[in-house]
Symmetry: C2
Subunit: 355 residues, 2 copies
C-alpha cells in the first residue's frame, strides 16, 4: 500500500442507482475510490501512459475489472479536441439502393477495422434531410464525414468543409471545394457501354439519366454523347429522358420511350434502380429483351444473374469506393492539413444477355 495522504473516500453516496432502476455505470471516480488513488491516475492507466508504477497499475486494473468500468465516450468527446471521438458520419441518398448499400459496407468495414463507429443516415435525395443530418453530425462532433454531395454546389457541405470538418466525397464531386474524393470513371464507363451498343448495330439509342445537377449523371451523359458523336450518329433529343435515380422513374421513362413514334432499339440507363424499373416496364409490355429492346445499365447488383434477362452493366467497384473513402478520411483525421487527393477507380463493362 502506498502511504499517500489519502484520507479515505470523501463521498460514500448510497444513491448510485439511476432512474431506470438499473445499476449506475461506474465512473472514473468510483474506480479511483476503490483503488485508493486519484482519478488522474486511473485515467493514466487507461490511456496507457507509462507514467504509472506497476504496483499502482495493478491495483487500478483490478478495480477497473471489479467495477466493469467503461469510459464514457460522451465525456471523452466533450473534453478532447478534434479527432478522437472514434465516430464518423456517413450520409447516403438511399440505403435501399444496392450501390449505396455496397459503399456503406465498404465504409463500415474499414471503420470497424479501425474501431470507429458509424453514424449512418439516408438523405433520400432530399436537401433538407441532408442538412438536418449534417447538423446532427456537427453537433455530435463526429471526427469526419463521408458522403456523396447532393449536387456540385451543395452549400451545406461546403460550409461544413470550411469549418474544418474532415470530409471525403464519394461518387459525386463538389465543384467549389477541394476535398478528398473517391470516384469512378463515369465518362469512360458510359463510353464503353454505349460503344458496346453501337457495336451491336444500334443507332437509335435512348438515354435514361438521373438528376442533371449531379456530376455522375452528367459525366455519363457526356460519355453517351461522345460515343455517338465519334461514330457520326446524330443524337435525337427526344431519346434523352431525365429521372430521379429511383426505380419508379426508370419505369415511367422507359414507357415514355416506348410510346415514341420512333422508339429507340436500345437504351442506356444511368443507374441500377432505374435499370430495374426499365426492365419491369419492358416485361409488363411484353417487349422482348434484347431482341426488341437492348438494355445496358450502370451499376451492378448482387442478384443480376437471377434477373430476366441478366443485364449488361457497367460494374462499379462500390465496396472499394467505400473502403478507400474511409481510409482517406482516417488519414485526414490524423493529418488535417494534408493536401486533398482524388482517387479515380475504373469500372468494368460486364456483358450479359440484355444486349
Amino acid at each position: 500500500m502506498k502511504s499517500t495522504g489519502q484520507g479515505g473516500s470523501k463521498r460514500t453516496d448510497p444513491k448510485r442507482e439511476d432512474a431506470k432502476g438499473g445499476r449506475h455505470m461506474a465512473s472514473l471516480r468510483d474506480v479511483a475510490e476503490r483503488a485508493n488513488v486519484s482519478i488522474a491516475t486511473v485515467s493514466r492507466v487507461l490511456n496507457q501512459s507509462d507514467k504509472v508504477v506497476p504496483e499502482t497499475r495493478g491495483t487500478v486494473e483490478q478495480a477497473l475489472r471489479d467495477l466493469g468500468y467503461r469510459p464514457s465516450r460522451v465525456a471523452r468527446r466533450l473534453r478532447m479536441k478534434d479527432g478522437r471521438a472514434h465516430l464518423v458520419g456517413l450520409i447516403i441518398p438511399d440505403i435501399q439502393n444496392p450501390f449505396y448499400a455496397e459503399i456503406a459496407r465498404g465504409v463500415e468495414d474499414a471503420a470497424y477495422a479501425a474501431r470507429y463507429a458509424l453514424l449512418l443516415c439516408n438523405s433520400d435525395e432530399n436537401l433538407e434531410k441532408e442538412r438536418f443530418y449534417l447538423e446532427v453530425m456537427r453537433d455530435e462532433s463526429v471526427d469526419g464525414i463521408v458522403l456523396p454531395p447532393f449536387n456540385e454546389t451543395d452549400e451545406a457541405v461546403i460550409d461544413l468543409v470550411n469549418t474544418g470538418m474532415p470530409v471525403v466525397c464519394v461518387d459525386r464531386s463538389l465543384s467549389k471545394a477541394k476535398t478528398d474524393l473517391v470516384e469512378v470513371d463515369n465518362y469512360g464507363g458510359a463510353l464503353a457501354a454505349v460503344n458496346h451498343l453501337l457495336d451491336k448495330g444500334h443507332t437509335q439509342i435512348g438515354l435514361i439519366e438521373g438528376r442533371t445537377q449531379v456530376s455522375t449523371s452528367r459525366e455519363r451523359r457526356r460519355g453517351y454523347l461522345d460515343a455517338l458523336a465519334a461514330r457520326g450518329v446524330t443524337v435525337r433529343k427526344e431519346l434523352i429522358r431525365a429521372g430521379d435515380f429511383k426505380q419508379e422513374s426508370g419505369r415511367v421513362l422507359m414507357n415514355e420511350l416506348l410510346d415514341l413514334k420512333r422508339p429507340p432499339s436500345a437504351v442506356f440507363v444511368v443507374n441500377s434502380l432505374m435499370t430495374v424499373g426499365a426492365l419491369a416496364a419492358l416485361h409488363q409490355r411484353a417487349v422482348r429483351v434484347p431482341q426488341e429492346m437492348a438494355v445496358a445499365g450502370f451499376d451492378d447488383i448482387p442478384w443480376a444473374e437471377a434477373l430476366d434477362p441478366p443485364p449488361t452493366v457497367v460494374r462499379q467497384p462500390a465496396y472499394e469506393v467505400g473502403r478507400q473513402a474511409m481510409e482517406l478520411l482516417l488519414k485526414r483525421i490524423m493529418e488535417p492539413s494534408r493536401p486533398a487527393v482524388t482517387v479515380r477507380l475504373v469500372p468494368e463493362l460486364v456483358i450479359r444477355r440484355s444486349t
Copy 2:
C-alpha cells in the same frame, strides 16, 4: 437595456480558433457575453422556458442568430440523465439484405419524424461485432436500441436490457427477457407457402433454412413440418438443409438438393438472399422453374418482378416492422417502466410464376 450589475465581459480570449483552422463554434458562453446575460438565461430561451421576459428573449435570440449558435449534443447528453440524447441505435445483420434495408428505412423514417438520429451498424451475423457495437452504443449513451438479437439467448443484449437500456427487438425474439418486440407471423407464413406448394401437387418438398438458433428460422421450419404433417406427407430429413441466410449458402444448398438421388420437386427457402442464390443455382444448371423445380421463398424484394421467374414469396411488411419498432422505442424512452408489448404483423403470400 436592463441595468443589471453586468460588469463587462470577463473573458475576451482572442484565441477562439481551433486547430483545424476553422472558426471555433460558438458556445453558450459566447452568446451570453454578446447578449449581456448569463449562460443560464441563454439556456432558458433555448429550452423554450417561459420564465424569460420578451425583451431579454429578443436580445438573446438576436445574439444566437448572429453567432450561428448550435448547441452541442455531446455536452447536453453528458449533463442530462436518460432519454434526451435524441440518438438511438439500430443493429442489423446485413444492410445488403433487402429485408433489413427495408426495416432500416422504416426505423429511420420514424426516427427522423421525431428528430432522432440513428447510429446504424451491421453485425454481420457475427457475435463479436454485435458486442462491439452494443458497447459503443452504451458508451455513447444512446436513448435506446432496436435490433434483431443474434439468437434467443443473446447474452450481450440481455445484459444491456438488465442495465435499464430501452431495447426493442425486431424480427427475432429473446427468450430470457421481456422486451418490446415487433415480429411477423413466421409460422403462419411458412404454413401458407408450403400449403400452396402442396396444393400444386408437390409432395417432395425441400427446405432451405437458416441458422437454427434463430427464432424466425425455427418458426418457419415448424410451419413447414406442420403443413406436411397435416397432409400426411412424411418428411425426408435429407430434404432439409441449414445455411446461414446468405446468398451463397442458398446456391450451395440448392445444388446439394439437386444432387440427391431423389431430389425434391419443390423447395421452400426461408429468406430472400438464399432464394436468389437457389434461383441462381437452378439457372446455372438450366433447371426449368417451376416445371422441374418449384420455388417459394420468404421475404419479398423490390425488384422481384424483374427476376426470372418472378418468385412466389411470403411478403413481410418489413417497413412497417421497422416503423412500429421505432415507435415502441420512443414510447419506452418516454415511459421506461411501461409493460413490454409484442406486436405481431401478418405476412402475405404473393403468388408469382416460380410455383
